[in-house]
Amino acid sequence: MRTIHLATAAALAASLAGPALAQEWSTFNGDLKAQKFSPLDQITPENVGTLTEAWSLHTGDVSDGVHRVHGRMHGPAGKAGVPPPSVWSATPLFVNDTLYVGTPFYRIFAVEPDTGKVKWTYDTGAALEALTQPDLKNRGVAYWAAAQPVDGVACQKRIYIGTMQAELHAVDADTGKPCADFGTNGVLDFNAFNTADSDWPLSLLQPPTVFGDTLFLGWAGKDWAEAVDSPGSVYALDARTGAVKWSFDTLPAEIRDQTGTANVWASMSVDPDRHLLYIPVSSPSPNFYQAAVPVDLPVVTSVTALDTETGRMVWSRQLVHHDLWDLDGNAAPTLVDIEKDGRTIPALVQTSKTGFLYVLDRETGEPIYPIEERPVPQTRVPGETSSPTQPFVDLPKRVIPDRWPGVFGLADAVSGGYCSRTARGLLDQGSFTPPSLQGSIVYPPTTGGTEWGGGAVDPRSGIYVVNSSSVVQIYRLIPRDQYDDEAARGGETGGFSPMTGTPYGFQLTTFLNPLGMPCWKPPYGMIAAYDLKTGERLWNEPFGQVQKYGFYMPESWGSVTIGGPVITASGLVFIGASMDSRVRAIDLKTGKVLWKAVVDAPAVALPAVYSYKGKQYVVFVAGGNSILSDKVSDQVVAFALPG
C-alpha cells in the first residue's frame, strides 16, 4: 500500500513540476480520477481580472429547433426539415498538441490550441433526429494512444465519438481518418449489444472512459417511456478493435423481463493504481412507478466499483433505495486521498441529485462520514411499495436545504395566490415524498441537487467545490384510462411520459406560476466549498444569475446550474453552468467572483484548462441547454492572459 501511495505522490509531483510544458486536459473530467484539477498557476486570483478572449470558434453545428440550419443534414429531421434543438455539453480535450471537441451534430473538430484554427473535421454522418432524447446532445470525445506506437502506422492515437443512433466512431487523432481496424471500417454498431429491446437505440452521448487499452462504455436511453427496457449493462471494449472484453450487468437476469435501464449514462472514473472502475448507476425503468421492481434490488441508483480487468463487482453502495424519483447516480465520483486523523484514506466523493455528498472509502465502499438510514414517507399509490428507509448524510452538509424552501411571496403575489393555492393541494411530506395521484412536491427532483458535472477537488488541500440547483417539481401519476386524454390536451411541453406497461402515466412539471416564475424561494443555485478532511463547509454562495427576457435577476437569487467546476493550482475555480450565459472565475478561498465574461449561450460543459507554448488557456464550450434557457450556440471560446 505504501508503494502505491508513493507512486501516486510521485506522479502528482511530476505533474506539478512541469506547468511550463504543455499541460494536457486528457479526459472529460480532466483526468481519470475526475478531480477536474489543473496544476497550472499562470492565471492567478491577482491577475484573473485581466483575462481576455484568446480565440473563438463557431462550428456551425447548432439548432434552436425552430429555424433551418445551413450546412449538413442527414436523414429525416423534424418539422419542415429543422433538426431538434442542440444541447452541447462537450468538454474539449487538449492532447497531442491539439484541442479536440465533439459537436451535437456528431462531428469532431481538431483545433489548434493557441489560435482556434481548424486542423481537420470528421463527420459521423449521424442522423440529426431526436431518437432517444428530445434534443441533439453530445458530451464530447475520448482519446487513446498506444503505449508503444508503431512508426508509420495510422491510428496509433485515436479519437472516439458516439452518436444518438449508438454508433461509436474511431478516427486517427492526427488526420481524422477512420481507423479501419475498429469495428467495421472505424464504426462500431453499439446496438448490436441491444438484444433485449429494440424499440429505442442505445444512444452514445457520453464519450467512453479510456484506461490502458480499454474503453469503458455505458449508454443513454429513452427514459420514462416503457416499463421494460434494455438492461443497463456496461461494456469494456478493446480500444483497437472494439471487441468486447467484458460486460457488467446492473440488473439480475431474472427481472429483466419486468424492468430495464439502470444504465450508466454519465462519466466514470478510474483508480489506475487499484485497477478499479467507478460507475454511477441510474435508476431502473419506468422510474416513477416500480411495483414490478423488488424494493431491495441492489446496484441500481448506486456508485459501484468494478475490477477494470474482469468487470467483477468489488463493491456497490446504493444511494437511493427503490428509487421512485429518478435520482440517478449521475456523475463520475471524484477520487482523492484524504488526510484524516493521521491517516491517508483513499476516498471518493459521489455527488447526486439528492444533494447529499457521499464520501466513501474507495477500496471498500464504506462511508468515511456516516450515512444513516432514516424512515421516509410511504407511498399510497395502489400496487406500489416504498423503501421504509433511505440513506441520509449529515456531514458534509447537504448542498441544498433538507426541505423545499416554501412559497416565494413575490411569485405568489403577482399570480394572485396561484403558488400557495397549488402548494396546498399537493402532497408534501419532506425528503423522499413519493409520487402520488394528487401530485407531490418533490425536492430535490430529477433536475435538482447536483447534475452530471459533479464536483472538483484540489488534491493537495482536500478542498472540494461543487455547484447545485434548488428546484421544485411536481410528480403526478395519472391512471392509464385518463392518461391519453390528458397527455393529448397537454401537448408536447406538458411534461407527460407514458410509462407504457404500467397502470399509470406520469406528468412532471416544474412548480412555476402562470407567468413562468418559480413558485419556490430563491436562491435557485449555489456553489460551495468543503474541507474533506473535516467535512466542514467552508463557504456557500449563490451562483450565477437568472436572465429572463434579457432582464438579470438579483445575484442573491442564483441560477439553476448545469455543468461543473474546475480548480487550478493557483486557487481559482472556473465554471460556466449558469442561465445567464456567463463564465466565471471564483476565488477558491472565499467563493467570491473575481472575473466573468459573456459567451454566446450557457456554457453547460465542463471547462478545460491547458497550457501550450508556455501560455495557460481556459476554454469553454458555450452550447446551451434547454433546461436552462432557449439560447443555443456553436461557440468554443478560449481565454488567456493578454500578451
Partner: protein, 110 residues
Amino acid sequence: MALGAGLALILSIWNFFAPVEFLAPTASIAGTPAACLAIAATLALFLAALVLAGSASNRLLVGILLVGMLVGILGTAFTGRLIESPLLVGLMALCFVGWLIRLFAPRARY
C-alpha cells in the same frame, strides 16, 4: 432631458445589436425583449422631452408630460438596473436632473 433621453436611445439601440452592452462588457441583452423595452422607453422619453420643450404655454400638457416623464425616467432607470447597464441608469439620472430643473424653472427651455 432631451439630451439624456437621446443618448439613452442611442445606447439602447447599440445594446440591442451588440454582443455585449456598451461600457458593460459582462452583460448582454442583444435581441431580447428587455432591449426592445429599453428602446421603446427611451424613444418615448426623447419624444416627450422634445414636445415639452415646445409646449411651455399649455399648462395641462406640461403637467401630464412631467408626470409621465417622471414615471418613464424611474421605470427606465429600473430597467437599466435589471439589464445591468450603469450607463443607462446614469443617463436617467441626467434626465431626472433635467426634469427637476424643468419643474422648478417652468419658463426655461431645455
